[in-house]
């Protein structure tokens, strides 16, 4: 008998949603000692399914039909109090955002001890907490138990979450995108940890993810969800290498395959931008307190030639965004030269800098935060040209053309950003940058907040625009597959310095620096080559 059986689960959406049911007729099983990956894009109902199992559905999402068994206990027949007693003891859950999933005011040891205490194991807590922290490979468990969450890195917090989930050795672990918010190297460590603990304890794991690389890395079986339904289910190797359903095929086809695109604008030898000896240091305190200094960027020399795309890869905190912000003058570096067509931009005053701003534009990471929610799309796009002296009517005309260029309906002009999906907003962000007719485009993680199929569309759009307009691009990403597909050359950043720079094929094929090798080894599912349809 399966450990977890979900039969015909249907959960209603509140009236007025885009569909009547959040999930519909879900049939799913998880066996002991098995990792089942539930894959799908945002809004496909993966998390709803997980929350239904845990009995954590909000009141606005009632279960309409279906039954759920954990072993021989029917979860859907339990009282709320009985369900509460099962949560944390027989089934446990870890979440996506390690930064917010722990109570900021409680010591991590106390939070783990609480999980034991509420199930009547208070006396064991003192011995168990350090044991559990050690079991998830955290250093110095005794000291760490006394720390508050803000002292821990994202990866460490996720380990604490796992330790907490394992406190009472549950039979079922539900992991809801547990590595999505983590850096690649940390992601790999957490995936290995989940794998190792699962095989040691023989737990069943329901692993929710949107990343087929992660699926290839960890899954025994896969269930693919689309708009609230499971469209395909089967052993991992079958689904990954021989998908039957069209949607699965589309998703797998959208996975960045790491091979360079074919159409390349010719790269010339003309240098557009040259960064030499740039340095930016952030410091906190002063006056009365002690100063804390972080060298965000140092030793990060690079050149950009006309028409090429340079990828800037590295983990969070490596200084890639700071470097990009130095180039667009959102951050003032305190030393070095930034030569744009031979002219050093750094010492220029605000007024002298203005003509150059037009020529260097930026696309931001978060399509939800980077557009002013109170302005119409047309005004957002036209604002830049108008401040640079273009007549309003002409600027709005061009905004309409740009919307067509990024494959949006010109009718979008009079609508507000919240009426668009993430992918559409990112297109608007691109149109806004292009409105200034820049020669250099800085793209700071332009696709990392997007679903994989939308990500593929936006990447294709960028490639097309780049070829058509002959743009030079500085492309920042933490996703090495994306970098390999988009960039001509790659610069690897670590702790504020570029440790390796070279043509994409060379950096990926024959990495020189140990950190580059570590990054490449951490790409999830690197042993899996997505099939081509």
């Amino acid at each position: 008998m399966s450990l977890l059986r979900v039969e015909g689960l249907t959960v209603a959406l509140p009236p007025g949603g885009d569909r009547p049911h959040a999930v519909e007729q879900i049939d799913l099983t998880v066996d002991r000692g098995e990792i089942v990956c539930v894959v799908g894009e945002s809004g496909s109902g993966k998390s709803i399914t997980a929350n239904a199992v845990m009995g954590l559905l909000p009141k606005t999402l009632p279960r309409k039909a279906g039954r759920i068994w954990l072993g021989d206990t029917e979860l859907t027949a339990q009282s709320p109090e009985q369900l509460r007693a099962l949560r944390g003891s027989r089934m446990a859950m870890i979440f996506q955002e390690p930064m917010t999933a722990l109570n900021p005011l409680m010591r991590v040891g106390d939070q783990i001890a609480e999980a034991l205490a509420v199930h009547g194991e208070k006396r064991r807590a003192r011995d168990r907490v350090p044991e559990l922290l050690a079991a998830v490979n955290l250093p110095d468990p005794a000291a760490l138990a006394k720390a508050h969450p803000f002292r821990l890195s994202g990866g460490q917090r996720q380990r604490v979450m796992i330790a907490m989930a394992l406190a009472l050795e549950p039979a079922l672990l539900i992991a809801d995108e547990p590595t999505t918010a983590l850096d690649v190297t940390t992601q790999m460590q957490i995936l290995r940890l989940v794998r190792e603990i699962q095989s040691r304890k023989g737990m069943g794991v329901m692993f929710i993810t949107h990343d087929f690389g992660v699926v290839a890395e960890i899954a025994d079986r896969v269930a693919v969800m689309q708009r609230g339904r499971i469209v395909e289910q089967g052993p991992a190797s079958a689904v990954l290498n021989n998908p039957r359903h069209d949607y699965t095929r589309a998703l797998i086809a959208a996975v960045p395959h790491g091979a360079p695109a074919h159409t390349r604008a010719p790269v010339t030898t003309e240098t557009v931008l040259e960064a030499k000896g740039l340095a930016k240091t952030y410091s906190r305190g002063g006056w009365f307190g002690a100063r804390a200094v972080v060298k965000a960027v140092h030793d990060a020399d690079f050149t950009l030639r006309r028409g090429e795309t340079l990828g800037l890869v590295g983990e969070s905190g490596s200084g890639k965004s700071t470097l990009a912000r130095c180039v667009v003058d959102l951050v003032r570096p305190e030393a070095g030269h930034m030569l744009f067509h031979g002219q050093d931009l750094r010492p220029l005053s605000r007024a002298d800098r203005k003509p150059f701003r037009k020529r260097i534009q930026m696309v931001f990471q978060d399509p939800y935060a980077s557009l002013n929610p109170r302005r119409r799309v047309g005004d957002i796009i036209a604002e830049g040209p108008i401040t640079h002296g273009e007549p309003r009517a002409q600027a709005l005309d061009r905004a309409r053309d740009l919307l067509r260029l990024v494959k949006l309906d010109p009718g979008a002009m009079d609508r507000f950003p919240h009426e668009f999906s993430g992918g559409q907003r990112q297109r608007i962000g691109i149109a806004r940058a292009l409105a200034m007719e820049p020669e250099l485009l800085i793209a700071d993680e332009p696709v990392s907040a997007l679903d994989v199929s939308v990500q593929a569309q936006v990447l294709a759009l960028l490639a097309e625009i780049r070829a058509r307009l002959g743009l030079t691009m500085l492309f920042i990403t933490h996703d090495l597959r994306v970098a390999a597909q988009v960039c001509d050359r790659i610069a690897v950043m670590q702790r504020g310095a570029i440790v390796e720079i070279g043509p994409t094929a060379e950096v990926f094929g024959n990495p020189q620096h140990s950190y580059t090798r570590a990054l490449l080894d951490s790409i999830p599912g690197r042993g899996w080559t997505p099939p081509v349809f």
Binding site: M54, L56, R84, A85, L86, R87, G88, S89, A92, M93, F95, E97, T100, A101, L102, N103, P104, L105, M106, E114, A115, V118, H119, H148, F150, M161, M164, A165, A167, G285, F288, G289, A290
Partner: protein
């Protein structure tokens, strides 16, 4: 918070506080002297014999004929030695006057503050727990009513209801005149007198805290760590107390810290309505009488209070929120 950092933190903050208070003292001085009319003319006017020589004599006596910067220097020198000057109207040192009245004000504002905080947080929590229900609506309407009603009017209505109609509570003063009560009876007597003014002063702030607590509780209840707590099987009551409420109180503490200082100033109105013998009324009387030294003394005392409450809030914050460093 790291306890070993505490003495250094306190020392630094006290130095800063002293600078702030001194700056306030100087500002107050100029502000008051910028107002038209001076104490000499008021006294002369009231005594009825106001000829130019008498006025001149009073001004010389009060030091008002000196240039402004000399007056300022004399005053600041006095403040630095804790000599707040002499009230010629009341024929008493200002420091003595203020110290006489301060306990009454502290008692009133302290009681009002405690009442506002306790009831505000309780009602806010209840409303957040039952969001959308009739209990939530009742609490919200009550809070908005007290928020929108002027203090003095609430005070007058309370007097009308409890003192005039029901005759339960005294309507003015701090203790029964001529009763010469001692021990428990005296305490009870003061408490009876305290009830109405404290209620009047506290109701507005209670409304503010209730609204704030409700809003932050609802915000925190949506956060991931609350879901984590539920996922590990923590019972609902404990989820609310340990996880939601504790985090929701942080903004309430910030707000309350700012208002604790304001409460002292806000008591002027209530002290006047209820004839409560505190520094609020002292300030009011001094203002009408152009009694500069007393007025400046009261300002000094209240600014010291505000600065101290702020320091206290910061300390409390560092205790409650481990992310805040005392540095």
């Amino acid at each position: 918070m790291d306890p070993s950092k505490l003495p250094g933190f306190l020392a630094k903050r006290l130095v800063k506080a002293a600078i702030v208070v001194l700056a306030i003292v100087v500002c107050n001085f100029f502000l008051i002297h910028a107002a038209p009319g001076d104490p000499a003319s008021v006294i002369a006017g009231q005594s009825g014999a106001a000829d130019e020589r008498f006025l001149q004599q009073l001004r010389t006596q009060f030091g008002l004929d000196q240039p402004l910067y000399v007056q300022l220097w004399i005053y600041v020198k006095g403040v630095l030695t804790l000599d707040l000057g002499f009230s010629h109207r009341q024929q008493m040192p200002v420091a003595t006057l203020i110290l006489d009245r301060l306990p009454a004000t502290l008692l009133l504002t302290g009681a009002a503050f405690a009442f506002a905080i306790t009831l505000g947080i309780t009602l806010g929590t209840l409303a957040a727990q039952r969001v959308g229900s009739w209990a939530d609506s009742v609490i919200t309407v009550l809070a908005l009513t007290f928020y929108a009603t002027p203090l003095f009017w609430v005070g007058l209505m309370l007097v009308l209801f409890f003192s005039v109609w029901l005759e339960w509570l005294p309507s003015f003063g701090m203790m029964s005149v001529g009763a010469n009560l001692t021990g428990i009876a005296a305490v009870l007597d003061v408490a009876k007198h305290l009830l109405l003014p404290a209620l009047t002063l506290g109701l507005f702030y209670m409304a503010v805290y209730a609204r704030l607590t409700r809003a932050t509780m609802l915000e925190v209840a949506d956060q991931d760590f609350v879901k984590t707590a539920r996922a590990k099987g923590v019972p609902e009551g404990q989820v609310v107390r340990r996880h939601v409420l504790r985090n929701a109180l942080l903004p309430v503490i910030t707000f309350a810290g700012i208002q604790a200082g304001q409460l002292v100033g806000g008591s002027i109105l209530v002290e006047t309505v209820f004839a409560w013998p505190g520094i609020g009324r002292l300030a009011f009387e001094a203002l009408l009488a152009r009694d500069y030294p007393v007025l400046m003394g009261v300002f000094f005392a209240t600014s010291v209070m505000v600065v101290l409450f702020n320091l206290l809030t910061d300390l409390l914050y560092a205790v409650v929120d481990p992310r805040v460093e005392v540095a």
